[in-house]
Structure formats: structure tokens, C-alpha cells
Amino acid sequence: MTIDPGAVARPTGRSYLARRRRTGTLLVLPALAVLALILALPIAASLALSLMDADTADFRFGVFVGLDNYRTLFADPVFALALRNSIYWMVVEVAVVVVVALWFALLLNHPMGRWSVFRIILLVPWALAPVANAVLWKWIYNSSYGILNFLGTATGVLPDPVVWLGDPGLALNALLVAEIWKEIPFITLLLLAGLQNVPRILYRASRLDGAGPWQTFRFVTLPQLRTTILICIVLQSIWALKSFDLVYVLTRGGPANATTMLNFLAYRVSFQFGNLGLGAAVADILFFVMFLLALAYVRVFRPARAAERGVA
């Protein structure tokens, strides 16, 4: 405020907005304190760790080694493989989850799919504990008495039982199926919410204009869902990079590192090899990738916000 100070009846900082700002700061502080304590500090510690030669046997913030850990990683074929696996995993998971979830969402948005039981069904895999999910699929994939091989051979689809988790090419995809199965429901719910925000009048208009179902989808639904889909893509990418439990329970990164991804590699290097510095470096690289995705998420939201403000 650029008011002549002499003219002000009482000291500044007591106005409604000033008070709101002050109260706001007070309200944010506890959350910031908690996050600083349990996140920011540990994160700073881990960034520092990635520049150290430190191991689990005696953790004394070892010797400063600069970027050595990162150099080691970029020369390591296992890291390259884990990076490739992570990218493959993320791309396929996001693509399949979003496409299938969109299809499910369209089905559930159809008058025939409005039965609330369908939505309840969706909540089951979503609420299922990841560990339970891993246990479940380990059981399904078992090569000698898993239900998948039994059904496959009984119906003649599979000539022989398949070792789902034993073939490098298959194993990663088998894990993907388990992951996708669990991830689809939430994205379906998000897209369903997005679909329900599409004004009905647009569908009526497009029908009057003589559009078929496909054209309606292509020219009405899809453009209206654009932001929602983008959000789903970004969120799912972040979640995909974070997945851990399936690898931990089902394959532990094998066979021949076929299912080793960055997150699991970070775990293995830190806790199994005991090399905290190198493990931190892996995790920090993963963090960097996720950070870029987070920026994308914020970008996706920004136009929507601006539009909202414009209306208000």
C-alpha cells in the first residue's frame, strides 16, 4: 500500500487482508515444519549422501567423493538396463492404463453401466494393499500350479505351461499386467469424474448435428477430457516410477535383471549391497525424473486455474 502514513488511523498490518495473510502463515507453519522435519531434512541428507562414499556397516557420512557415484552409475550396464526398464515400464503402464481406463470409464458412463455395483467393483483393486496384490499375482503366475497356466493349457490357448516370471521378456510384462490391473481402477474413477463434467448439452448438440458414437467421442468427449487425461498421464507416470512392492515380492529384480528398475536398484544397492552413497545417487536420479513430471503436472493445471480466475 502506498498510503501517506500520516493519514492512517491505526498502524498498518491490521487490515482484513493483512490479518488473513498472517493467519495463513500461521496455518501453513505446522505442515511446513512437519514436512521439513520428515522430508526436507532426509532429502537433503540423501542428496549429500549421493556425493559420499558411505556404507551401511558404518554410517558416518563417509568420504566426500564428488560426482563419483554418478560417474560409476553411468558406466554401469545394470543401471542402464534399470533405466531402460523403468522407461519401458512407465510408458507401457501409462499408455495401457489410460487407454483401458478410458474405455472402462466410457462403459460405466453409458446408461447401462450406471449400476452402482460397477463402481464398487472398481474400488476393490484400488483399496487392496499392494503387498496383497503382489501375493495374489505371485500365486496366479506360479508356473506349475498357478491358475493362469492351468486355464491356459486346459483351454488349449497355451500348448505348454509358461514360466511367466522366468523369461526376461515375459517377466517384466507379467509384472506390468499385475501393476496395470491394480492401477486401472483409480484412473477409471478419475476419468469417469471427468466424463461427468462434460456438459450433457454437448452430446445432444452433437447428436443433432448427426455425429455417430465415434465422432461424438472424437470431437466432443476427447477434447473435453483433455485436461483430465493429461493429469492422469502425469500422475500415473509418477506412480509407475515409484512401484516397488511387486518387484520385491515377485521377482526381486530377476531373472537376469530383467525386472530391475531404478527404484528397486536403489533399494538393492542401498540395503543389499550396503552402498548408501551409490544407492542415494540412483534414487536421486529417479527423483530428478519425477521432479520433471511434477513440473508437468503443475503446468497442466495452470491454464485451468487462470481460466477459473478469469470467470471469478
Binding site: 488473513r20 493467519t23 502463515t25 500461521l26 496455518l27 501453513v28 505446522p30 505442515a31 514436512l35 520428515i38 526436507a40 531434512l41 532426509p42 532429502i43 541428507a45 540423501s46 549422501l49 554410517f59 472402462f104 460405466l108 453401466g113 460397477f118 467393483i121 472398481l122 474400488l123 476393490v124 483393486p125 484400488w126 483399496a127 487392496l128 494393499a129 499392494p130 503387498v131 496383497a132 501375493v135 495374489l136 500365486w139 506349475s144 500350479y145 491358475i147 492351468f150 486346459a154 490391473w181 483409480f186 474413477l189 478419475l190 471427468g194 463434467n197 509418477i238 515409484k242 516397488f244 536403489a266 542401498s270 548408501l276 534414487a283 519425477m290 511434477a294 503436472y297 503443475v298 486455474r305
Partner: protein
């Protein structure tokens, strides 16, 4: 094809699609449930021996009576998850409101920071966290877990609730301010009461996340504070895997949150999910 015929084909197509949807989503669960009622011998025979006589509660009874304290795990999960949810709502809702509406200086940066912290793989913060917790004697305690769980629940809660508070009509806050309410009173007496559904939805979400968390729980608990997923994982040992018991334990551990999700689905669907889409 006539228009009527086309419409019918379409209905059949959608019906088939829905059937496929139900089958895909439920089949693994159904098979798990069946497995949980079969003894290991019936499960490992080819084909799986589904004779009605084989169905038994022995896995469930075994799970409940085993040395692995599943009931203790469930109790710990319930306590940790509910307190985490309540704490996250307490701390998170006020922060979310401030960031949504109170024009906190540097609010944009704070939000980015919160988002960024959420991106960090749990893997790396575990060691520093463990050091802090063990120095303060909080390993293997429900309190320790709650604090750690706040780290990943709080950012989500803040981010989602912020979206909701932004949708609260400004006039309501202004009316309350004109009526003489302080900013805290506006928040407490007007904004919070009308945001109950999203608060509930976010709370349920936080509860489920905390209930299901595995990685931190494995590392940070020893015996007295073990949560349900940790106990479930314990059914697979080095030398024996008791599949039936494992699945039964997984079922028991999952049922509370699934029931919770179903009971509060209205809040989750209308509240949380839409909030995430609207940001």
C-alpha cells in the same frame, strides 16, 4: 442395418464390454478368495482340486492362531492409519486453506515444495528417518510410523484439499468476515463445516494409504508396532510358503479398507476423485 438393429448391436457390445470389465477386475480377487479356502495340497494339485469337500476354514483359523500376530497387526494398522488420517487432516486442512485462500507470502513456492517432496522415492529418506527415529526411541512405535506416514499423506491431503477450498465461494468467507469472524473463525466455523465431504474423502484416502503402506513399516517396526501388510508378508518365509495362509492373511488385511472404501464410496467418488481432476 436398421437403426433399431444398430442400437441393439450397440447395447450388446456395451453389455459384453461391461462383462469383460467385471471379469477382468474381479477374477484375480475371486481366485484369491477361493484359494484362501483351500488347503495347500488341493492348491498344488493339477488341476486345482476344487471338490466341495476340500473347502475349509483352516487357512483362516491358521492365520489367526499363528505365531504371526495378524490381529495385533490389524490393530496397529487401525490405530496408525486413523491417527495418521486425523493428523494429516488437522495439519493439512489448515495449510491447504491458507495456501488456497489466504495469499500466504511465497504460497506458490510452498506448493511446489510440497509437490516435490511427494516425488521423492521412499528408498532414500528411510536411512535418515531411521536414524532420527531410533535416536528418539520411536522405532517400532505407532507414533514413529504416524510421523513417517504423515510425510507422504500430508502432501496429498494438502494438494487435494487446496483444490476444494478454492471452490468454496469467496462470498461466504467475506460474509463471515463482515459478520465479525476472525480468519480462524471463518475457517473453523464456515469453511470446515461446509467441506465435510471432501475432508471425509481425503481422510479415508489417507487412512487407506497408511493402512496399506509396506516399505516403511517393514523397516521401522520390529514387533509391537507391526502393521497388517508386514504381517501378511511374513507368511512367506525362507523355507516355506504357506500360500493358502498367505492369501487368507492378505484377504483379512484387505477387507477392512475395501469395506471402508465401499462404505464411503460416495465421498471418495464425489469428493476425492473429482477434486483430483479439478486440482
Amino acid at each position: 442395418m436398421s437403426r433399431r438393429g444398430r442400437a441393439r448391436t450397440r447395447r450388446i457390445g456395451i453389455g459384453l464390454g461391461l462383462a469383460l470389465f467385471v471379469a477382468w477386475t474381479l477374477a484375480p480377487i475371486v481366485w484369491a478368495l477361493i484359494s484362501s479356502f483351500l488347503p495347500l495340497r488341493a492348491l498344488t494339485s493339477t488341476p486345482p482340486d476344487l471338490a466341495p469337500g476340500n473347502f475349509t476354514l483352516e487357512n483362516y483359523l491358521g492365520v489367526l492362531s499363528a505365531d504371526r500376530d495378524l490381529i495385533g497387526g490389524l490393530r496397529n494398522s487401525a490405530i496408525v492409519a486413523s491417527f495418521t488420517a486425523v493428523l494429516a487432516l488437522l495439519i493439512g486442512s489448515s495449510a491447504a486453506y491458507a495456501l488456497a485462500r489466504l495469499r500466504v507470502p511465497g504460497g506458490g513456492k510452498i506448493l511446489m515444495l510440497i509437490l516435490v517432496t511427494q516425488m521423492f522415492p521412499a528408498m532414500v529418506i528411510i536411512i535418515p528417518l531411521f536414524i532420527v527415529l531410533s535416536r528418539t526411541g520411536l522405532t517400532d512405535s505407532q507414533v514413529g510410523l504416524m510421523i513417517v506416514y504423515l510425510s507422504f499423506v500430508l502432501p496429498i491431503v494438502i494438494w487435494v484439499l487446496k483444490g476444494f477450498f478454492e471452490a468454496v465461494p469467496r462470498e461466504l468467507e467475506r460474509a463471515a468476515a463482515v459478520d465479525g469472524a476472525s480468519t480462524m473463525q471463518v475457517f473453523r466455523l464456515v469453511v470446515l463445516p461446509i467441506s465435510l465431504p471432501p475432508l471425509f474423502a481425503t481422510g479415508v484416502f489417507a487412512f487407506i494409504e497408511a493402512w496399506n503402506e509396506f516399505f516403511f513399516a517393514v523397516i521401522l517396526t520390529q514387533s509391537s508396532a507391526k502393521t497388517a501388510p508386514v504381517v501378511v508378508a511374513e507368511f512367506s518365509g525362507q523355507y516355506v510358503s504357506l500360500y493358502g495362509q498367505m492369501v487368507a492373511a492378505a484377504a483379512i488385511a484387505s477387507i477392512p479398507v475395501i469395506v471402508l472404501a465401499i462404505v464411503f464410496r460416495r465421498y471418495i467418488l464425489e469428493g476425492f476423485v473429482e477434486g483430483a481432476v479439478k486440482g
